[in-house]
């Protein structure tokens, strides 16, 4: 099985109920159904009020609409280890909830394969925060006046 570029994403939410809101589930469903991404692994991290880390599997959360994970859930291999969760949890405040997801950039697989065929070598792969883009664009406007 060809595996496309894999990415790890951890997002903090105000509470576990914010994550299960329909908007996120629908948005993820669209991405998965369009084969834009595949969800490789997903879990949830909670830190209680005394800093204890609790890890929850998707199976533990009652309110999740499993149908969005159905095509993938059989493939979830548990690649994220408990050690990863402990490392990531260090950056969590007490009384917080985060979703941790490992996904495949399925959309990029063919493109990546062509680059490999051409013996291209990855030098840089950075997500640029929108605040940086805005700042640089604003500075460019100033320069061109």
């Amino acid at each position: 099985m060809v595996i496309g570029p894999i990415e790890m994403l951890c997002i903090k939410f105000p509470s576990s109920s914010s994550f299960v809101k329909d908007g996120i589930a629908s948005a993820l469903r669209v991405l998965v159904e369009n084969k834009t991404i595949r969800i490789i692994d997903i879990l949830f991290i909670q830190k209680n009020d005394i800093g204890e880390v609790i890890m929850n599997e998707i199976d533990d959360l009652d309110a999740i609409d499993y149908s969005i994970f159905d095509p993938i859930i059989a493939d979830i291999a548990g690649l994220i280890s408990e050690a990863d969760v402990q490392t990531i949890a260090q950056n969590l405040d007490n009384n917080s909830f985060a979703a941790l997801m490992l996904f495949e950039n399925t959309w990029a697989t063919a493109f990546r394969d062509e680059i490999v065929n051409a013996q291209g070598q990855l030098l840089l792969n950075e997500r640029i925060p929108s605040s940086v883009i805005e700042e640089v664009m604003a500075a460019q406007k100033t320069v061109s006046i």
Binding site: L43, E57, D70, G78, S81, E82, V85, Q121
Partner: protein
């Protein structure tokens, strides 16, 4: 009605850590170029402990100067310089 489809078994998650394995292979691989290492070092310096001796220049100014030197030495392209500078300015 939600169709609930649980996995056969919940993963144990006792295997090697992804982040640790990544850090180890990055240290020994040759994919990091001189320019990306230089950029990362410039950014990492911002996160280190407070300086032992009083600085002649504020830390940020020293890092911007270093970036400019890297660019002038040809170690950074104009694009990389702009990007690294933007990163220094927002963090």
């Amino acid at each position: 009605m939600h169709r609930r489809s649980r996995r056969q078994s919940v993963p144990s998650r006792q295997g090697p850590s992804l982040l640790g394995t990544m850090a180890r292979t990055a240290a020994i691989s040759s994919t990091a170029t001189a320019t990306s290492r230089a950029v990362n070092q410039a950014i990492d310096q911002k996160a280190t402990k407070p300086q032992q001796e009083p600085a002649a220049q504020p830390e940020l100014l020293a890092q911007l100067t270093q970036l400019t030197q890297l660019k002038e030495a040809g170690a950074l392209t104009e694009e990389e310089f702009k990007l690294a500078k933007a990163k220094l300015l927002i963090y």
